[in-house]
Symmetry: C2
């Protein structure tokens, strides 16, 4: 998983949210309120909001975020995370331990992982934990 | 690879492009001119254009498409396609045979593939051709 996560508040504008993502090379941003992770937003959400759902770039991100977030604890197996992504048709899962967001695992992360491994290594990986 | 591809012209508006993608459940759209595939656009491109690059939803898609497209022939190995995605930092590669776009292979497609396979099957897959 990537531990390169950032948070913003639910009242941040769509444009400001996109800027934070762009400047920090992040494909998604978590939305936090009172210390809780209440949502997640991706570039796909932003594109659809501005073209299909008549949102403005000044609209608050809470209007378009995915909420609640789909999350698993860091001890979850990678195979389980893959199954969850396919089942929910999502590309990102938030890793939450003890109520705190620790990171995000994405289909892109897994692509990188899979492509670097030999077939012997893959079986072990599918059984290993996300936090490794 | 997915053969569910669609084309639009370079003068289609950003909003109309997003609508075509949304209504057809496509994560990307190819841009065609005089029978040639001259570009590709994703939701990421659209989100950045509208929030960071001051484009309007009425701007023509040619202003923001990725061009030229990164393509390989259908006989290319999947391992090679994965390497190309990582090298170019892209999520989609267009499959072109004899000058005609046949399909798109994406990191999501590969995720689905990888997750369904046993470790014995994976080695074979990495060596097999995209068109299989």
């Amino acid at each position: 998983m990537t531990r390169n996560i950032k948070f913003t508040s639910p009242d941040t504008s769509i444009q400001e949210t996109a800027k934070i993502m762009y400047e920090n090379h992040l494909p998604s941003l978590l939305i936090e309120e009172n210390g809780d992770t209440i949502g997640i937003v991706t570039y796909d959400d932003i594109a659809l909001a501005l073209t299909i759902y008549d949102q403005k770039i000044t609209s608050p991100i809470k209007e378009i975020m995915s909420s609640p977030v789909v999350s698993v604890p860091s001890g979850t197996s990678i195979l389980k995370a893959v199954e969850l992504m396919l089942d929910k048709k999502i590309h990102k899962i938030t890793i939450i331990d003890n109520g705190k967001s620790q990171g995000i695992i994405s289909s892109s992360d897994l692509m990188v992982l899979f492509s670097m491994l030999s077939e012997e290594q893959l079986y072990g990986i599918f059984k290993s934990q996300i936090s490794n």
